[in-house]
Symmetry: C2
Subunit: 253 residues, 2 copies
């Protein structure tokens, strides 16, 4: 009874190409029987197998692994699926952030036809910010993360540029004044500028400030590109000077 199919028929039946069937045959995923002349012959029960292959492929599972799943048919299916789900979720994370990067760049450069370089700069900026956010997350409590999300609304490109400039300037000024007495008016003025800049990030929130501090403590474990970007601010003497200035300011006897 059970009808026999030649490749083309069978392929159409399952919605795949002939070449794919050849491929699965060679990989040992689905081996049909043969006519004397060597033509492939498929039975209907092969269709079930093929549908399973197609389904697992749709889930992004590599053919070799599919073969293994069939081969040593030990019920490892659900484990494989759990793993695959995590793989796919990770892929989705990356996809999402790529899409968001394009969206933000489009929004930011929408008015007027900016030159390509401006768009690219924006894209790079967004991507970098995303993965900075990503790894810096671990330093902040859940609540602090939410609050940062709130404050991100203030992070316009102009503001970011301004903050960068202010930090650079301040750092240079402190470096130049390292000889001063930390309790001096000059040093206190620098400390005040410093405090204000920190607050422009924390918004005065103590939880955000706590996370920021934790992050700073963990400098040695920062990813390479972050260390790179923080290079201009790596002079330890500056940090120590500001630290002393704060102490001197708080305890004025």
């Amino acid at each position: 009874m059970s009808k026999l199919y030649h490749v083309r028929e069978f392929a159409k039946l399952a919605g795949v190409t002939v070449r794919a069937l050849h491929h699965y045959d060679r990989l040992g995923l689905l081996r049909p029987s043969r006519t004397e002349a060597g033509y492939r012959l498929y039975y209907l029960r092969d269709l079930e197998r093929l549908e399973q292959i197609v389904a697992l492929k749709f889930l992004g599972i590599p053919l070799k692994q599919i073969r293994m799943m069939f081969h040593r048919g030990t019920n490892g299916m659900s484990d494989s699926l759990r793993m695959q789900r995590r793989v796919l979720e990770e892929k989705r994370r990356l996809l999402d952030s790529a899409i968001r990067a394009i969206e933000e760049a489009e929004r930011a450069t929408a008015p007027g036809n900016r030159p390509d370089s401006a768009i690219l700069k924006k894209i790079i900026e967004v991507i970098e910010m995303q993965d900075n956010m990503d790894w810096s997350k671990k330093y902040y409590s859940e609540e602090a993360q939410d609050k940062i999300e709130e404050r991100k609304k203030l992070w316009s490109p102009e503001n970011q540029e301004r903050w960068t400039k202010e930090w650079t300037d301040l750092f240079r000024d402190v470096e130049a004044g390292l000889g001063e007495d930390p309790a001096s008016a000059k040093a206190q003025a620098l400390a005040a500028r410093w405090k204000k800049l920190v607050e422009s990030f924390t918004g005065g929130d103590p939880q955000i400030a706590a996370g920021l501090s934790k992050m700073y403590q963990d400098r040695p474990n920062w990813p390479a590109n972050m260390q790179q970007r923080m290079q201009p601010f790596s002079n330890k003497k500056v940090w120590e000077f500001i630290q002393r200035a704060f102490v001197a300011g708080k305890d004025p006897n």
Copy 2:
């Protein structure tokens, strides 16, 4: 001034591998100068280029296309990005449905360690339902789509199986009774069963019914696998008979 870098240094600086730099060189994406001995030498300005490449690659744009974007630097950037966004969004759709398929299969087979074949069956079922939903969408109005979403809650595996069986049985019964008078009690009973089954899908909603009708009219354009699945219900005489029975039922003089 502007420092010169050897491959390894430069690669570390940008967070890519040496091999990748070789590759970009060969593809003409980033050609460094060379020492007399043939060693690659990178300048700092090459870093900017490289960062752009990495960024575009992150967005999933193929290297060849990146090269073209640089090469004929005509401001096609924003167009490329718009296109790429759509590509990525499509990918995300597929990813999402793969993830949903796994999730649903896990939920459906969670209690107890089902054999692999049961899990696979569930996966296939979910995938097929998803893309049926996908293409059938175009036949329904927005409102009808929402209502269908509502009614999908009733689509338990048991119900689906039951409906399939009832349709198959009914179709067979009508086929057997094609000789009857459409106005006869027997024919009217069949028509009533038919009507009830349709309503089990539409829930009596006229908008859903309208979409269903549109879909039926468009049979010739159904995707192959759907035609395949509808094969058992393709006997035109059955549809015509039911049509006549409905007419006879409505107009009983």
